[in-house]
Every structure is written in C-alpha cells, then in structure tokens.
C-alpha cells in the first residue's frame, strides 16, 4: 500500500490547485482522476475570463496546471477508476483498479458531468445523431432538421448557434417557461429558424444506423408524436459527481457536497472543492479558490494548527 499525506480525487482546476499548494508545502500528494486531467476545462474551447491570461484554450490551461502540479511533486494518476474507499477513520484508504493508497486527509474534487436524459435509446445514437457539444458536431447537421433538448441558458444559446448550420432547430422543453436570462430567450425567440415545443419530453430516439426520429410526449395532454429529425443536442445541465460519496459525507438535495467555509465536509479529514460542492457560482476561478482553501485548511488540520480549533 502506498502512503501519502493527502489524496485528491479529481484532477480538474480545484484538485490541481490543491495539489500545487499542498506539494509546495512539502506534503506528499496523490491526485487520482478517473478520466483525463483537466476536468471540464479541457472541454472548453477558449477560456477568456481567467485573470492574467489572454484567451487560452482549455486544453492548454489544463496542461499548464497539470505541469505545475507535477513539477511541485504531485503524483498524478489518470484514467484510474475508484473501486472502494474508507474515510471513516483518521487514516483514509482508497482502492482503485491499479492500486491501494493511504493518506491522512482527502479532498473530493470530482466536479460534474453533463446530465443525460437516461433513455436506453439515447446511448444507441451517441455519435450517430445525439450530441452534447454544438461546437463539435454542429456542422454534421447542415441543412437538416434537429432538436435541442433543454430550457436553460446553454440550451437556448446553443440552439441559436446551431442555426448557423441546421435548417430548423426545435427546442424541446419540459416546462412552459425557460430557466434562462432574458437576452438568451429573446435571441432564441427572434430567430426565424427556431421553433418551440414546450411542456414536452422525449420518450424515445428512433432510427437504424443513425438517428431519424424522436417520439415526443406532450405533458399537457399525454399525446405522443413523432418528429422527423436527424440530430438531437442535449443541454439539460450538469450533475455533481458526488454519488460514490453519498454515504460518507452529507449532500444537499441537489446532490452537492455540503462544506463549511474551510471546505471541510461532515467527515473529519475529508474536504470537498470545486463544482462538486454546494455553491452558487461554478467557474474555474471559484474552483481554484476552493482548491486553495481546502489545501490551506488541510495543512492546519494535519499540523494541528487550525486557529479556530485551538
């Protein structure tokens, strides 16, 4: 079993920042990511609001953060799946498919993922009609009829951007109103290529090799209809990656991990940082803030120097 001072679960901006602070303070740090290092930042084409940097690709920014963490001495493991853990005692244990690790404190910085509709037929057409990224796949639908599912800012903004390619974009939304800023609603409503199907939900995606239709159910009268479309872009929000930790730390009703202002969770020695924790604004800068605070609070915890607790 390999021993560390701190194990960080998740290598997005929150986890990497915590790693940088902790390893600079000469702690032995392991960062485990079940996917690629960088988190959602890697998914961002251009980051224009990170102080001190001109517009930078998300991939570049994440690579720089990773490099910095590695140079300060963090042990970084990617594509390593969490199998089990025990955080209930002073020593914390983490088992992955490739190893067993022990530490005195843990930071949960696992961020979030795009929410899926959860339909069986959704999986079948991913890459052959269903997409979660308009900038990536929009041009495959040039002069075709498509739908956008969702009613928030992302759904409305992406629907407008998809009109560059598609013949028509039908926004399918489960409620009779949008949860978006006025500017986004107005831009969608003023776009002649956009149609709206409110109080409706997707029942099924259909097609053979690729998507050719969608069965949509009205929430008003329960009737179903088929829409002939070749593309469906799904923007229904993000879900925090807190599920594996639900029995060990307190979550709120949105499944976000509850912390105090030091990022400490309900379990002693376990901290949470970034998008996975209960907070209002989810940005790279706020994730970096959380990672910093969690790291500094852990240093106090490990040294027994927390001014609030002495």
């Amino acid at each position: 079993m390999k021993k560390y001072d701190v194990i960080v679960l998740g290598g997005g901006p929150a986890g990497l920042t915590a790693g940088i602070y902790l390893s600079r303070a000469r702690q032995k740090v392991l960062i485990i990511d079940e996917g690629m290092i960088g988190g959602q930042v890697v998914l961002t084409h251009a980051v224009a609001n990170y102080p001190g940097l001109d517009e930078i690709s998300g991939y570049k920014l994440a690579s720089e953060m990773k490099k910095q963490a590695a140079e300060f001495g963090c042990d970084i493991r990617t594509n390593e799946k969490l199998v089990s853990f025990d955080f209930s005692n002073t020593d914390k244990f983490v088992n992955t498919k490739s190893g067993e690790y022990q530490a005195r404190a843990v930071i949960i910085a696992v961020g979030g993922q795009p929410r899926h509709l959860g339909l069986e037929s959704e999986k079948s057409f991913q890459g052959t009609g269903i997409s979660y990224c308009a900038t990536c796949d929009g041009d495959f639908f040039t002069d075709q009829d498509i739908v956008v599912v969702g009613g928030g800012n992302s759904a409305l903004e992406e629907a407008v951007s998809l009109t560059k390619y598609a013949r028509t974009v039908t926004i399918v939304h489960q409620f009779d109103h949008f949860q978006a800023y006025d500017y986004a609603i107005t831009a969608a409503e003023n776009n002649p290529k956009i149609k709206f199907l409110m109080e409706s939900e997707i029942e099924k995606f259909t097609g053979s090799e690729s998507l050719s239709g969608i069965v949509i159910k009205s929430k008003k009268d329960g009737s179903s209809r088929v829409l002939d479309v070749t593309g469906a872009f799904i923007f229904i929000g993000y879900v925090p990656g807190s599920e594996p930790f639900k029995d060990c730390v307190i979550l709120n009703d949105r499944k976000e991990i509850v912390t105090d202002e030091d990022m400490a969770t309900s379990q002693v020695g376990v901290y949470a940082a970034g998008d996975v924790r209960q907070k209002k604004y989810r940005q790279i800068t706020t994730a970096v803030n959380d990672g910093t605070v969690a790291a500094l609070a852990i240093l106090d915890y490990l040294n027994g120097t927390d001014p609030d607790k002495n």
Binding site: G35, M36, V42, L43, T44, H45, S57, Y59, K60, T78, N79, K81, Q126, G127, T128, G129, I130, S131, Y132, C133, T135, C136, D137, F140, F141, E209, S210, L211, T230, G231
Partner: protein
C-alpha cells in the same frame, strides 16, 4: 494546421496509406481540439506511453484537413455524426470505427479485442 497533441500526426492520405500498409495495427483519431476529441487523444497518448501497445501505431489527423476525406468518406463512418472519428486498421483493412468520445477503457477494450 496540425493538432495540438503529443501524438504523431497524419497530414496526407498518402502518409496514412503508407503506415497502414507497413504496420500491422494502426489506430487513427480524426478530430479537432474539441471536448469530445481531446479525451480520445489523451487515452491514446497514455496507451502509447504505457508500452503495452508497442505493436500499435497511434496517430491523429485534423478533421478539417481536406486529405482527411480518406477517413471521413470511409463506408464504416457513413453514419457518423459526432467527432472524433476513430478508425482501427489491421493489415491495411478497417476492422473497427467509432464516433464521438470514447474512454480509455473503451479504447483498450477495442484494442484488446481486435488487435
């Protein structure tokens, strides 16, 4: 223009042709620097660095390069509408192709199954 990855790039159809004819196993990821593509390049870089797949040539190719029609127009990719298009060749023939994001686990499974 090339891709900002640590993989070797194909920039012409002739290069691709040469490698698939001279190497038994070739994996090519044809995409952009987008959110669905980057994780696939990352998985390929790690698999290449691991040394476990030294019998595989890992390459990428920019989707917008006109020469990438050699991948875009493959019959195996005809129903694809999500980047990246990832194609696996064995002895010069396409044995598998996937569309959109794939995890390292999914890529490994395919490599273990077909190569």
């Amino acid at each position: 223009m090339t891709l900002d990855t640590n993989l070797k790039h194909f920039s012409t159809a002739a290069e691709l042709e040469e490698i698939i004819n001279s190497s038994e196993n070739v994996m090519v990821c044809c995409g952009r620097m987008g959110p669905m593509c980057v994780p696939v390049y990352g998985a390929m870089e790690e698999l290449q660095a691991s040394g476990d797949y030294d019998n595989v040539e890992f390459r990428d190719m920019l989707f917008d390069n006109p020469e990438a029609s050699v991948i875009r127009n493959l019959p195996e990719c005809s129903s694809f509408r999500g980047l990246p298009f990832t194609v696996y060749y064995k002895n010069g023939k396409v044995v598998k192709a996937t569309s959109s994001i794939q995890s390292k686990e999914q890529v490994t499974e395919i490599l273990d199954e077909i190569l």
